[in-house]
């Protein structure tokens, strides 16, 4: 009897032993699936960042071409003693064109000439004008002047377009490549840091386009968002954590907050369009409306995180304050909120970072306009950085692709800064 059960169990043991190898192999395989999944996430992140950075880095440099520009009165179409207005409206483009012709006297055909003029940017004449207005002694001489290169010439000089590809496939033509090579050999080309990108607004020409206007717009929009969402969010969190009675109304409010956190952002845009623009007739394209819409969108985030950090305040603090005779509101304002503040700020900064990256609802309220002037207040038409990225991403020119990536790098830089600040606050808070 005993023997039999022994035999039976040894049979089972043998069966288990035999299967062990397979089971361990399966275990290892499963573990590898897990590693693979984590790795996949890493690879996606790496590709995304590498793609953006490799595309965007060239946008931070701008090529210049040295041209000996003849700035005498005749080529500028100026009288002998010009006034400032006359200087302002002088024919700088003509001067640049004739100087380029003088540098390449072999160019005669109309088509070739047009190609030659396209070596320098459309904006070069305004640069030259500003130079002359600042330095009137340039007038009447021929001087070596660095002119902004056209985006297409610039992309050849940066090595993005090679001469080995088919001429029909690229914007910069064979003739231009010959000229650019010649200029480069003579040391007449130079790469500088692209300050234009940070000091100018949107433009149709990639080499003249910048993110300054979008940065201002983002700043004003976030200002409005913070001014609305922070006080209201914190007040709501205080009410729900400290004062709200347990009843149907409170439940309704809580359900609504949780639902709003999951409502697609574009629906907030529809709300903004229907209520603030159509009904209240607030100005379109303005940071004011954008900020209001974004604040409604970030409110749930701020309320939820603020509640968590108010909840985390030790009850002994409340009891001590109540014990020495403070009212409920005094307890909260003087003792609970200061302790919870780092946590609340962390949540608010994360909410603001969300708002900074958001663009879909802003498309609905018309913040997609082509805007060249810096907004001076919350009611001026403006655009924001993510929307500027969206607009540039639509442009087919190669120059805009790198500008888009560069703008993305700036945007991500701000987001990283904000998140780092949030992490820092959280760390300090934890130490307490």
């Amino acid at each position: 009897m005993n023997n039999m059960s022994n035999q039976h169990s040894s049979k089972t043991t043998a069966a288990i032993r035999a299967s062990l190898k397979k089971r361990y192999r399966r275990e290892r395989r499963f573990r590898w699936y897990g590693r693979l999944a984590v790795l996949t996430g890493f690879v996606f992140l790496f590709i995304l960042l590498a793609d953006i950075i490799s595309k965007g880095t060239p946008a931070f440099t701008q090529h210049y071409i040295q041209v000996s520009v003849n700035l005498d009165a005749a080529s500028l179409d100026l009288p002998s003693d010009p006034s400032r207005e006359q200087l302002y409206s002088a024919d700088y483009l003509g001067a640049i064109k004739s100087s380029l012709r003088a540098m390449f006297p072999e160019v005669t055909g109309r088509k070739e000439k047009r190609l030659l003029y396209r070596l320098v940017s459309v904006g070069a004449e305004y640069d030259l004008r500003d130079m002359v207005l600042e330095n009137p002694e340039l007038l009447g001489h021929t001087s070596e002047i660095w002119l902004r290169a056209h985006a297409e010439a610039g992309s050849y000089l940066k090595g993005q377009v090679g001469s080995d590809s088919l001429e029909a496939d690229r914007k910069v033509k064979d003739l231009q490549i010959v000229w650019l090579d010649q200029l480069e050999a003579e040391g007449r080309t130079e790469s500088r840091f692209n300050t234009t990108f940070f000091t100018q607004g949107d433009s149709r020409e990639p080499e003249m386009a910048g993110i300054r206007v979008a940065l201002y717009g983002s700043f004003f929009t976030l200002l409005v968002t913070f001014a609305i969402a922070f006080p209201i969010g914190v007040s709501a969190a205080v009410y729900l954590e400290e004062f709200a009675p347990r009843n149907r109304l409170t439940d309704l409010i809580e359900i609504n907050i949780n639902n709003l956190a999951a409502v697609p952002s574009i629906v907030f845009g529809l709300l903004g369009l229907a209520v603030f623009i159509n009904f209240f007739e607030l100005p379109r394209s303005a940071p004011l409306v954008g900020g209001i819409v974004l604040s409604l969108m970030t409110l749930p985030t701020i309320i939820i995180t603020s509640r968590a950090s108010i909840q985390a305040v030790s009850p002994s603090i409340r009891q001590a304050a109540l014990g020495v005779g403070a009212s409920k509101l005094q307890t909260v304002l003087h003792h609970v909120l200061p302790v919870a503040m780092p946590g609340i700020l962390t949540g608010s900064i994360i909410g603001m970072a969300q708002a900074l990256g958001e663009s879909a609802p802003l498309l609905m309220i018309g913040m997609v306009a082509f805007i060249m002037d810096v907004p001076h207040g919350v009611t001026d038409p403006a655009t924001v950085l993510p929307v500027q990225i969206f607009l540039w991403a639509d442009s087919p020119e190669r120059g805009f692709t790198e500008k888009t990536s560069a703008a993305i790098m700036v945007l991500m830089g701000f987001l990283i800064l904000m998140n780092a600040l949030a992490v820092y606050l959280r760390k300090r808070f934890e130490l307490k």
Binding site: F42, I52, A236, F243, V263, P264, L270, V275, S327
Partner: protein, 462 residues
């Protein structure tokens, strides 16, 4: 006066009331033993006076600002010549807008007739007197409010309780704003959607198989009559979301399992924040990545094996959307798996099961409802996502389930219908609101189901 000036005056009056209230609390106690005989601290009497000055006046200011334009408009319209009164509402609006823009100096007189110029001068006068009256009324209300409060100050007045009562109401209204926002969304979308369903029958919308919203804006324009069938949009949205889920669910779920069951604490503390960067990347960046990198890559890949891939394929948009949702699925599943009690794990391991057997046969079945809830939340995220599909998905509505073709989604259509010029009496614009209504309710439904499932699941182990 400018609204901003009125507002500043109001703030000034409020500050003055605070100091007067505080001062008065001192004066009423003279001879009664000084500030000690007061019920509350002197500053509370100041706050009380300030609130009484500020709140009613602020209310008046807001109401005035909201009502001002429409009242002025109706006053001008009432004085318009008889033949203008007979015009349709639209033409009247145009006539009125001409008057206003001339009065503001935006246009010159060449486009206007004599009556309009007269009306414009009248309008200017009305605007001027309205803003004067606004300033006067607001200051009057503020002063009266402050005086009423000041006059009530007695040593026995419970000023602190009074102020705290008002503040509590303020706190409550801040949290009630969430309800108002939801109501605002529902009403604004519903209102325009109903106008849309007057023009297009609701059945044609919900079950129509064709979507081509190009229609004549003017009556004499030659254009297609426009068809507003919702089905292709829904199928397109679902197609892209499905592709996204095929990426996000396996990767997110397996990462969560690995990180919570296998990884060392150190590995986890580094890996998790890095993967969560994916959640913090703005959607417009993903859209750019999808449109300029992933879509051409997939197209090239397809062509190299002889497949025709549309340049705005659902696959590219879905793939990138999947990447975006990975951290979302990961952190939700992580929470759910961690909520499974350790006793279950230990029992299974104690019986001699390997870790992977424990996970597959014990943890996952136990966590299944929660994970399903998490996936539903992720689907609702994918349906509502806008920028990726606006930049990387197509515009024309094609009824197909082939991920290599270009499809369009609900959110893409909302954006295309509403960006640019809008005519609010045109079904084409109103269609966007009908789509918004559907989007809102679909995501709401998914969220409610998901939250319910997750909560039930948690209660099971509490």
């Amino acid at each position: 006066m400018e609204t901003m000036t009125v507002f500043l005056v109001l703030i000034l009056l409020t500050v003055i009331s605070f100091f007067m209230g505080r001062k008065r609390s001192h004066t009423v106690t003279v001879g009664l033993g000084g500030a000690r005989s007061l019920h509350s601290l002197p500053k509370h009497y100041g706050y009380m006076a300030a609130l009484w000055a500020l709140l009613p006046a602020l209310l008046v200011l807001v109401i005035w600002l909201v009502a001002e334009n429409s009242i002025l408009a109706s006053m001008i319209v009432a004085e318009m010549p008889a033949q203008v009164q007979l015009l349709s509402e639209n033409q009247q609006g145009l006539y009125f807008n001409q008057i206003v823009s001339f009065a503001r100096g935006a246009t010159d007189a060449s486009m206007l007739d004599e009556a309009q110029i007269q009306a414009a001068t009248h309008y200017q006068a009305l605007v001027a007197s309205s803003s004067n009256m606004k300033a006067l009324l607001v200051s009057l209300v503020a002063v009266v409010g402050a005086l009423l409060a000041l006059q009530r100050i007695r040593p026995a007045l419970r000023a602190r309780n009074h102020v705290e009562g008002i503040l509590k109401w303020f706190l409550f209204s801040c949290s009630f704003l969430a309800v108002i926002t939801t109501l605002g969304i529902v009403l604004s979308v519903l209102f325009e959607a109903i106008r849309f369903f007057h023009a297009i029958p609701i059945m044609d919308f919900l079950f129509g198989l064709e979507w081509s919203p190009q229609m004549a804006i003017r009556a004499d324009q030659v254009a297609a009559s426009g068809s507003f069938g919702f089905v292709p949009l829904f199928v397109g949205t679902m197609l892209i979301s499905t592709v996204a889920m095929f990426i996000a669910v396996p990767v997110g779920l397996m990462s969560a399992i690995y990180l919570s069951e296998y990884a060392t604490r150190r590995f986890r503390s580094i890996t998790k924040p890095v993967l969560e960067i994916l959640a913090g990347v703005p959607t417009v960046v993903y859209g750019f990545f999808a449109a300029l990198t992933v879509a051409p890559f997939i197209r090239g890949l397809g062509e190299s094996i002889g497949l025709h891939v549309a340049s705005e394929s659902a696959l590219a948009a879905g793939l990138v959307m999947g990447i975006m949702i990975i951290p979302f699925v990961m952190s939700l599943s992580d929470d759910i798996i961690n909520a499974v009690p350790d006793t279950l794990r230990e029992a299974s391991l104690g019986m001699g099961a390997t870790m992977s057997e424990t996970i597959r046969h014990v943890l996952l079945p136990a966590a299944l409802p929660g994970i399903v809830g998490g996936i539903l939340l992720a689907v609702s995220r994918a349906i509502g996502e806008t920028m990726i599909v606006v930049m990387a998905a197509g515009l024309s509505a094609k009824l197909t389930i082939n991920p290599l073709e270009a499809v369009t989604t609900i959110t893409v259509q909302i954006v295309t219908l509403l960006v640019g010029d809008q005519e609010f009496d045109n079904p084409k614009t109103l269609a966007a609101f009908a789509l918004g209504l559907v989007l809102f309710f679909v995501t709401l439904l998914l969220n409610v189901i998901a939250l319910y499932v997750v909560r039930k699941y948690r209660e099971q182990y509490e």
